[in-house]
Subunit: 139 residues, 2 copies
């Protein structure tokens, strides 16, 4: 199996599971972090838009947002221009929560780095960046 995509899938799924377990103490899942991450750099217009960016069904965004709202990490604000839409806003608490989640990911990075020469680390990072930028649901 010399294919990149297959190995990328294997490692990615494993990494996702690992990250999920480490995230348990924060009572979050990777998908929640992804949502917060998107909100941080581009304030979302609607949940539909988020569903597209995340690549999941709109009904799932509802559940994710519910959980984050209960936690006080985000606010649901009815768009005054179009009262069907809910604009999700990141709160201070949400920003701190995202920082904690990022911290956890940084710890994983260190463990990953232990098995990877510094040169490979940088190359991997830029490669992932470019793939993510070209990905259908970019973030």
């Amino acid at each position: 199996m010399g294919t990149v995509s297959f190995r990328l899938g294997l490692l990615g799924v494993a990494q996702d599971a690992l990250y999920a377990s480490r995230l348990a103490s924060l009572e979050l899942k990777p998908k929640h972090v992804a949502l917060l991450c998107i909100l941080r750099l581009r304030a979302a217009g609607s949940q539909m838009e988020l569903a597209g960016l995340l690549g999941v069904a709109p009904s799932l965004v509802v559940l994710l947002a519910d959980h984050l709202e209960e936690r006080g990490a985000i606010q649901r604000v009815r768009d005054p221009a179009d009262r069907r839409r809910q604009s999700l806003r990141l709160t201070e608490k949400g920003l701190r929560l995202l920082a904690s989640a990022t911290e956890v990911a940084a710890e994983l990075d260190e463990e990953l780095a232990a098995a990877l020469p510094a040169a490979d680390r940088a190359a991997l990072s830029t490669a992932l960046d470019r793939l993510l930028a070209a990905s259908p649901h970019r973030s």
Copy 2:
């Protein structure tokens, strides 16, 4: 989110889902391919061992092996030395099936390569190799 692990997880999960959908025509899932892949380069001693290598529960290996056996891709052979164990053997048909699955993955690689300079491609490949080699369930 500058962390490598998080982006690796995102892309990996997406790639896995994409690969799964492309694999539908072969009536296989990525986990099946992973199993075949392991069998190809190290003939497995027991299903327990495979469960460890795949990082899944032993009862799942049963289902995966069932499906592959019905397809004639593998054979279950009772280990004569220890009749509790089942030695899984890759058949000719299984080898061809794995080749088809690899072909599908290669097509995905081309699509991936379209968004990635050749230099990055090679760097990504070696990085994934090293991470996989250092991974708890190495294959």
